[in-house]
């Protein structure tokens, strides 16, 4: 037997433990009571009108956010991939920025922009038109959908743009030669080719919207409605109803699993036969007089996702009263002083966040690389199952994972609650799908021949991995590291149930500040978080030498 076998088995077991333990406990708790097995919690979940309403709200939010993401993301993907739109690089860069912006920061910024009375855009609208009613009330379901879509549409964009980048223009040109008009070409040739990508993007966006905690907590609660995630969080109030929270988690979990299953079924074997080929040329469609209007449209979207929110955050960070005009009198650095020096939780939280980010990214990138390697080289039996398990957490919303981890690790033998370890386990599990798919792509690109040569010359598998594969996979692994790090520093939905006062992280501190309404301090910390994120993005682009959304220059 080869020496490396224990390593593979250990990696596989770690993964299984990470996912199965919390889910097992979740299922167990959801049916347990003092008198043994019971379905009472489920009965309550499905009969309590308040909980039913939360279920319904979540459904409405997720589907509309998915559709809105599609409506924004798909045209932008087509424009930036297949047309002579000016400023494509800029647009892609901005979409990447919205991709890495924590959604809860966006939601928070939009409270200042479109709160019905104090919101700056509404004030502007009133002073211009003399109207009484606001232009836009962000504390409503449509407002919530709008803000959520601003930060989920990049998922649709990435899926479609990457596919469009790979489709050669041959088919489209053939159709055009045969007399089809532009619209007809688009509808009969291009659309069917990208249909799988559109569907995948849509489902990804819906998954994201279902799992969000911060945006509904900031926008839905003030309006007096719950989504599943905020409801689960509310169930943890003293006296905690963990069984109810668990029972309420299961429908959310089933919904996300069902969505992914649907995606698989719908796509079926309809592969990407014409996609993925190199060769064929891609000619861009001339937009003619529509070039600049199209650019303007894209910039308008980015204004909503990036310019306006970042602008208002900067303003809030520098002013005494965010709703007042930016005069000398209103200008202050006090928010910075308060956030970093007077508020005693900040520094510890930044350190905790960095520590967790680095730790999770290192272990996560390593584990993901090992797993992807096992699956790609088919090293152990059941490697497909491994790939499945590694991708499975994508259907586990953060709050649900947190409920499972809370139950699993607040009792012996593994008492992790109250330490950074429980957050580490949560982040590692949550980031595994991202890490795995990144690593998988990396190892697919490295042919096994080189390794085989090494093996023939007598090196063991581990040595080959260390001396041949790893150097080749280096930049891919670094990219994985960066993705995980970015994911960790913005994580809120699992952290909010798992932190204790001594293990606060930045996102939780921001959330705490929000409940007392410290807009200035939140803006300062939010901008700090963004700065950290962009530093990592720049680092990654330098290492990869390309745009990290996968666009080829």
């Amino acid at each position: 037997m080869e020496r490396s076998v224990p390593v593979w088995i250990l990696a596989a077991l770690t993964l299984a433990l990470l996912i199965l333990l919390p889910l097992g406990w979740l299922a167990h708790v959801s049916v347990s009571s003092e008198g043994g097995v019971t379905l009472a919690h489920y009965r309550k979940v499905f009969t309590d009108p308040h909980l039913q309403k939360a279920l319904w709200n979540t459904l409405v939010l997720a589907i509309w956010a998915g559709l809105a993401s599609l409506a924004i993301g798909a045209p932008m993907a087509w424009l930036s991939s297949r047309t002579d739109l000016p400023g494509k690089r800029l647009i892609r860069g901005l979409i990447m920025a919205s991709f890495v912006t924590p959604p809860f920061l966006g939601a928070f910024a939009w409270v200042m922009l479109a709160g019905p009375n104090a919101g700056l855009l509404n004030k502007l609208y009133r002073s211009l038109t003399g109207a009484e009613d606001p232009l836009f009330n962000i504390f409503t379901m449509p407002g919530l959908i709008f803000v959520v879509a601003l930060y989920t549409f990049p998922y649709v964009f990435i899926m479609i743009a990457n596919t469009l980048d790979l489709i050669a223009s041959d088919l489209e040109e053939a159709a055009a030669v045969l007399g089809a008009g532009r619209l007809q070409v688009a509808l009969t040739i291009t659309l069917p080719l990208v249909a799988p990508a559109i569907l995948s993007g849509f489902i990804l966006a819906v998954l994201q919207a279902l799992a969000l905690f911060g945006s509904p907590a900031i926008l839905a609660l003030p309006a007096g409605f719950h989504t599943i995630t905020t409801q689960i969080w509310a169930l943890f109030q003293y006296p905690p109803k963990v069984e109810m929270a668990a029972a309420f988690s299961i429908p959310l979990l089933l919904a996300t699993a069902l969505l992914l299953l649907m995606q698989k079924k719908l796509l079926g074997r309809r592969g990407y036969a014409s996609v993925g080929g190199k060769g064929g040329q891609r000619r861009s469609v001339g937009l003619g007089p529509w070039r600049y209007p199209a650019l303007l449209g894209c910039l308008a979207v980015m204004a909503c996702a990036i310019f306006l929110p970042y602008g208002i955050l900067a303003k809030a960070a520098l002013s005494r009263a965010w709703a007042q005009p930016m005069t000398w009198e209103n200008l202050t650095l006090g928010n910075f002083a308060f956030t970093f020096f007077q508020y005693s939780s900040t520094q510890a939280a930044i350190l905790n966040t960095l520590e967790l980010g680095v730790m999770t990214a290192c272990v996560g990138a390593g584990l993901a690389a090992l797993l992807a390697y096992i699956a790609n080289r088919r090293i152990i039996l059941g490697h497909q199952l491994l790939a499945f398990l590694a991708l499975a957490p994508i259907v586990i919303p953060g709050v649900v994972l947190a409920v499972g981890l809370f139950v699993a690790y607040t009792r012996p033998p593994l008492l992790l609650y109250g330490t950074l370890w429980i957050l580490f386990v949560a982040y590692l599990t949550k980031e595994m799908p991202v890490g795995y798919s990144q690593s998988d792509a990396t190892f697919r690109g490295i042919h096994a021949e080189l390794e085989e040569a090494g093996r023939i010359l007598g090196a063991g598998r581990l040595r080959v991995l260390g001396e041949i594969t790893a150097p080749l996979a280096r930049s891919g692994i670094i990219a994985t590291w960066c993705f995980i790090f970015i994911g960790v520093i913005r994580e809120l939905s699992a952290s909010i149930l798992l932190f204790t006062p001594s293990t606060k992280v930045m996102s939780v501190v921001i959330f705490d500040l929000k409940e007392e309404g410290h807009f200035g301090a939140i803006a300062v910390l939010g901008l700090f978080m963004l700065a950290m994120t962009f530093a990592i993005v720049v680092l990654m682009q330098t290492v990869l030498g390309r745009d990290f959304l996968g666009a080829k220059e």
Binding site: H50, G115, P116, N117, A118, G119, F139, A220, L221, P222, A223, G224, F225, H226, T230, A234, F236, Q237, Y238, P239, P240, R320, A321, W322, A323, F338, Q342, Y343, S344, S345, T410, R411, L415, Y417, G418, T500, P501, S502, D512, L513, E515, E516, G517, H518, F519
Partner: protein
């Protein structure tokens, strides 16, 4: 004669020795507190005020740090209990605005019996009869409005004025599921006007925020012109900073909420905790709470700013800690039923 003479000596000696003894006991405790190095304070006092008290303590006792963990009263309790369930002993001193919490914590034997120095002079409403917890501060929950947005003729003067449909979409409330002040406030108003009052109030489509501190910000920014509740000190502080805020003390009565503080029975830094507790009940801190923070306190010698109303000029609505403890679930549940979340 001799006995008299002896007695005099005894008194003189006692007088000379006892303070020294007390002082050395203080020294020993200070030494022990220094060794512990810090005190962990779970508090619901508004963040800026809490940090100010912490800085005052750190200045008075260099070398002992105060770890401030500020959140809403209900969350303080939630975090404390959640930690204990996992056998984590982190909190030294607990301070919330829900007196019911202290009934519960005492019953569960989670509090240390400790009487802060000088607290015997406080009125009885500030003292637990068994000596486990004492009122650190008192807060009124009031109506507040933005004078730039509400004309003098329109200003709501009573709790019932807020039921007028003209306020639809213009009110903000904090949440009893987060804030102990608001939980107590809701109970006091339910006892005054019944649950029907809140049912009707909810018809005006209120904006829901969490902390009793937050309505001050919402009203100052103009997002909602009127707050139907909130801690008077947060409005007072915001007004002092120049924000457009005016406070109304409704005629039907104003809930006066005494927020207790106590040391936990499992305090990991017991000496620092005692030192800190004594300090927070000292005249120096109590006066600071009254001055810059705009709070009321139980300390009989504290002087209040001239622009705060005297408590004896107001009709006060008291709240009973035991009743609050018993009806906590009901308060949160019905509030959510009426207001949606």
């Amino acid at each position: 004669m001799v006995t008299r003479w002896l007695l005099t000596i005894a008194i003189v000696v006692a007088w000379a020795v006892m303070p020294a003894d007390r002082a050395s006991a203080q020294d020993a405790r200070l030494e022990a507190a220094r060794k512990e190095g810090k005190v962990v304070w779970y508090t619901s006092l508004a963040l800026r005020s809490a940090e100010k008290v912490a800085k005052m303590f750190e200045a008075a006792y260099p070398g002992i740090k105060v770890e401030v963990h500020r959140t809403g009263s209900q969350r303080v309790l939630q975090r404390l209990m959640q930690e204990l369930q996992a056998n984590i002993k982190n909190a030294d001193v607990v301070h919330t605005s829900d007196a019911g919490h202290f009934v519960l914590l005492k019953e569960k034997k989670l509090l240390m019996q400790y009487t802060p120095a000088g607290v015997e002079k406080f009125p009885s409403g500030f003292k637990d009869r068994d000596g486990y917890y004492y009122g650190l501060r008192a807060t009124l929950t009031v109506i507040a409005y933005n004078p730039k947005l509400v004309s003098p003729a329109e200003v709501p003067r009573t709790w019932k004025d807020l039921l007028d449909p003209k306020w639809k979409g213009k009110l903000v409330t904090a949440h009893p599921g987060y804030s102990g002040l608001i939980a107590t406030h809701v109970l006091a108003l339910v006892n005054l006007h019944g649950w029907d009052y809140f049912k009707q109030l909810a018809q005006n489509k209120l904006m829901l925020v969490q902390s009793a501190v937050d309505p001050a910000g919402v009203v100052a920014s103009g997002e909602r012109p009127v707050a139907v509740n909130g801690g008077d000190y947060t409005f007072y502080q915001s007004k002092k900073k120049g924000n457009p805020i005016e406070i109304v003390y409704p005629k039907e009565g104003v809930p006066l909420i005494v927020s207790p503080a106590a040391i936990t029975s499992f305090a990991p830094h017991p000496n620092a905790a005692k030192l800190f507790t004594d300090f927070t009940f000292s005249k120096e801190v109590q006066q600071a709470l009254a001055d810059s923070e705009g709070l009321y306190t139980g300390h009989p010698e504290v002087k209040y700013p001239a622009d705060k109303p005297k408590l004896n000029e107001l009709k006060l609505l008291p709240a009973d800690a035991d009743e609050l403890e018993k009806r906590n679930e009901e308060i949160k549940k019905r509030f959510v039923e009426f207001f949606g979340a």
